[in-house]
Symmetry: C2
Subunit: 97 residues, 2 copies
């Protein structure tokens, strides 16, 4: 059973996911990305798509030219779960130098 | 120079792009798509991305699992132009049986 993060787990978020912030409109993680152009942005989206499909956990996301916004939440528990944290970390890892 | 559609051209939209509607918040075309699953939705997005890059005209779009929403507008003229109509038709063509 998937449960939402405890307050102890939430307290760790700023440390383990410093680039992500909490969404205001729902219990979710949010990060904005900016790339050189559309090809770079969509190339990144393709890598995230493969990751998401493999993890069977999918983002809510949007793209406008070189910008991508990713929102992570877990519908099964109607809020933020460990699955979102794991996917956010995996996405960060894609961009690690 | 890119210009926004004339009222005569706008009057044709319902006929040539029956699946698209006008956005309320800006001068843009909008269409929602629903697929069997994420793989089908992202596969479609990949085809649209290649099309958009080739036409050098890019959508504002979002995806949540099997749903894709595409908004087309032209920043160079701050509204709906012939480029949006051409891209919308090309997208429709991708889904033609």
């Amino acid at each position: 059973m998937i449960t939402t993060l405890t307050s102890e787990e939430r307290a760790q978020l700023a440390k383990i996911l410093p680039e992500w912030r909490l969404a205001r409109e729902k219990d979710a993680l949010l990060r904005s990305f900016e790339f050189a152009d559309f090809v770079a942005a969509f190339g990144f989206m393709t890598r995230v798509a493969l990751l998401a499909e493999k993890m069977d956990h999918h983002p809510e996301w949007s793209n406008v030219y070189n910008r991508v916004e990713i929102l992570l939440t877990t519908h099964d528990c109607n809020g933020l779960s460990a699955r979102d944290v794991t996917l956010a970390q995996a996405i960060d890892h894609l961009l690690a130098p």
